[in-house]
């Protein structure tokens, strides 16, 4: 399904609002939407909600032989997927431009910036290293996928095995007016995008500007300043979420997605463990089986009757309706003789009425075959169709 385009009125309205420093959801220009990080029962699994944008991340690992060029380094693999659930415009298993862009940015931010010490993933040099696979599924697209994905990836990686992870955050801007954390509609009216990745020590890991906008020096500096503030806020949030999860796990409390489901909403409902009544199950089952068994006994399967070599008959009318004559069944029939006798009076493909001309009487045969002489020629032998031979000298 194609995405619905943004109408001109909407576009103008949005731009006008941004000009007046107003945003659709009532935020200020530098405000982030609410961030919620939920960890699953598995290690290395989390769902990040950034406003209405929702991302699921799962980290898994595997022992693999290392790359020949880097025998002492582990392998990081990022797989971001735009699930068709996120937006009707996303098609399954298609490498869209947006997908490639997001994957590449995520890789640059997390792998190339060396935020994960890949050497610590080495088990035996040149033989076995850990391959860390990060699967990110976008569940709902409401703008700023990059931030949601990177927060999810970092949270899941820190939750996973606690390897050497330095936490990073990001910042996104719009057009000639600066907006932080754009929602989906704001993203559509953007002129360009500036993505800054920063670690918790406020060092810039990567900067990417896209969309072909020209930025002034002080604009970039201002963006990086905003980014540094946001990064420290997000880092704090991630740490808090991780600590919380750790505490609950230690105390043996309930955790996971089922627990984080909001209970007060009217759209949610929960049920406790409930027993299934199974008292008369056995009787019902026996009843049904007994009832069916009696019917199967009545209908006995008849044994096949061998009429002649190469034939068998099952079912009613044991007497051959094709008019087999026992005496003549083995007598070979020549092609020319047969063509004399057989007269096809119907060209119907389904059923053909073939009349065999004989001395005194006509026998009508109904053949469920396309053309009798052809079929005969295909099989080659006369014994394949012994039932239609009725020639008498």
């Amino acid at each position: 399904m194609r995405d619905t385009p943004l109408s001109n009125c909407d576009r103008l309205f949005l731009l006008k609002a941004i000009e007046e420093k107003k945003r659709l959801d009532g935020r200020q220009t530098y405000d982030y939407r609410n961030i919620k990080i939920t960890f699953g029962t598995d290690y290395g699994c989390c769902i990040v909600e950034l406003g209405k944008t929702r991302v699921l991340c799962q980290v898994s690992c595997e022992l693999v032989p290392p790359k020949d060029s880097r025998p002492t380094e582990g392998i990081m693999f990022f797989n971001l997927e735009l699930s068709p659930m996120a937006s009707p415009a996303f098609e399954p298993n298609r490498q869209s431009e947006l997908l490639v862009l997001l994957n590449r940015q995520l890789e640059r931010c997390l792998r190339n910036s060396k935020c994960i010490d890949t050497e610590s993933l080495c088990v035996v040099s040149g033989e076995k290293v850990w391959q860390i696979r990060v699967d990110i599924h976008v569940l709902n697209h409401d703008g700023n996928l990059m931030d949601a994905a990177s927060i999810a990836a970092i949270s899941a990686l820190s939750h996973f095995r606690r390897p050497d992870v330095a936490i990073q955050g990001r910042d996104v801007t719009v057009g000639s007016y600066l907006l932080v954390d754009p929602c989906e509609r704001e993203e559509r009216v953007k002129d360009g995008l500036l993505v800054i990745a920063m670690n918790k020590h406020q060092e810039i890991c990567s900067i990417q500007s896209s969309g072909g906008i020209m930025l002034l020096k002080d604009q970039v500096l201002r963006c990086s300043k905003i980014a540094s503030i946001k990064v420290s806020e997000i880092t704090e949030l991630i740490n808090k979420a991780l600590e919380n999860d750790k505490k609950i796990r230690k105390e043996g409390g309930k955790f996971g997605f089922a627990e984080s489901m909001p209970k007060e909403r009217i759209t949610t409902l929960k049920r406790d463990k409930a027993p299934v009544e199974m008292t008369d199950v056995k009787e019902t089952a026996n009843d049904i089986v007994n009832r069916t068994e009696t019917t199967t006994e009545v209908a006995s399967v008849p044994s096949p009757v061998l009429v002649a070599t190469g034939t068998a008959q099952v079912g009613e009318g044991i007497v051959n309706s094709w008019g087999l004559d026992e005496d003549e069944e083995d007598e070979p029939l020549t092609e020319d003789r047969k063509t004399d006798e057989v007269m096809i009076i119907s060209d119907s493909e389904e059923e053909e009425v073939v009349i065999l001309n004989e001395e005194a009487h006509f026998t009508t045969l109904l053949l469920r075959m396309r053309v009798y002489p052809d079929a005969r020629r295909l099989t080659g032998t006369s014994s394949a169709f012994p039932t239609v031979e009725r020639a008498r000298p």
């Binding site: 399904m1 194609r2 699953g40 029962t41 598995d42 699994c45 769902i47 209405k52 929702r54 699921l56 799962q58 898994s60 797989n79 997927e81 699930s83 068709p84 659930m85 996120a86 937006s87 009707p88 399954p92 298993n93 696979r133 699967d135 599924h137 569940l139 709902n140 697209h141 409401d142 996971g256 997605f257 089922a258 489901m261 909001p262 909403r265 009217i266 759209t267 949610t268 409902l269 929960k270 049920r271 406790d272 463990k273 409930a274 027993p275 299934v276 009544e277 199974m278 199950v281 056995k282 019902t284 089952a285 026996n286 049904i288 089986v289």
Partner: protein, 219 residues
């Protein structure tokens, strides 16, 4: 004859949330114990010409695994869910359109297919699509000793001799779909169906309660 164990026949605690995603027309999450599925429904919407059916809507079901790309196992499950949805939905009301159900596995701890079915049904309800009847999924595991366990965990599934999943409709409690693995007798099959029918009553009651709760504020 095998003995039925009363302690084995429980449904784990389950819950659901509807309309939790903003983009899809209908969405829901269904949680059975630790097993959790997120479902999103788009439709009735525009359909690709190659998939268009002139007298009814085209149903597509996609199951996204948590790790890696969808494989043959997901395809098989997709087919099970799709055929159940096709039986329940009134597709002729939306000719030449598409209905897409996307199921995202959030956590697998056994009874995944039944959880998929339940999540799909809740999402279809949320999308407000006209249906003949509702449907639910129940998984039964038969252990080596012949005990029947409903809604098994991943561990119970592994230890079981046979695993049966049924989709049941809400009106006649008839079997809409069945998917089985392992070996079992006719008696066991009938028992599992009977147990699933009993268990389905609870799930349908849950559907009813959640709808009642949801529309309780509307006078």
């Amino acid at each position: 004859m095998m003995e039925l164990d009363q302690s084995g026949s429980v449904l784990r605690e389950y819950g659901s949330e509807q309309s939790l995603l903003s983009r899809p027309d209908g969405s829901s999450t269904f949680v059975q114990g630790d097993t959790s599925i997120l479902a999103g429904v788009y439709g009735p919407a525009e359909v690709k010409v190659s998939k268009e059916i002139y007298d009814r809507a085209t149903v597509e079901v996609l199951i996204q695994p948590k790790m890696g790309l969808p494989s043959v196992r997901e395809r098989a499950r997709e087919q099970c869910v799709r055929e159940t949805c096709e039986a329940a939905l009134l597709l002729t009301l939306h000719p030449r359109s598409s209905l897409t159900v996307i199921l995202q596995v959030v956590h697998d701890d056994g009874s995944l297919l039944s959880c998929c079915l339940n999540a799909a049904c809740m999402a279809l309800m949320d999308a407000g699509l006209p249906m003949n009847h509702l449907f639910c999924g129940v998984t039964c595991a038969i252990s080596k000793e012949g005990q029947i366990t409903t809604d098994p965990t991943a561990r119970q599934e592994k230890e079981s001799r046979a695993l049966l999943t049924f989709a049941l409709d809400s009106v006649e409690r008839n079997v809409l779909m069945s998917s089985t693995t392992g070996s079992f007798s006719v008696h066991e099959l009938q028992q599992c169906i009977a147990v699933s029918q009993k268990a389905s009553e609870q799930i349908f009651q849950f559907y009813r309660d959640s709808v009642k709760r949801r529309y309780s504020k509307i006078q």
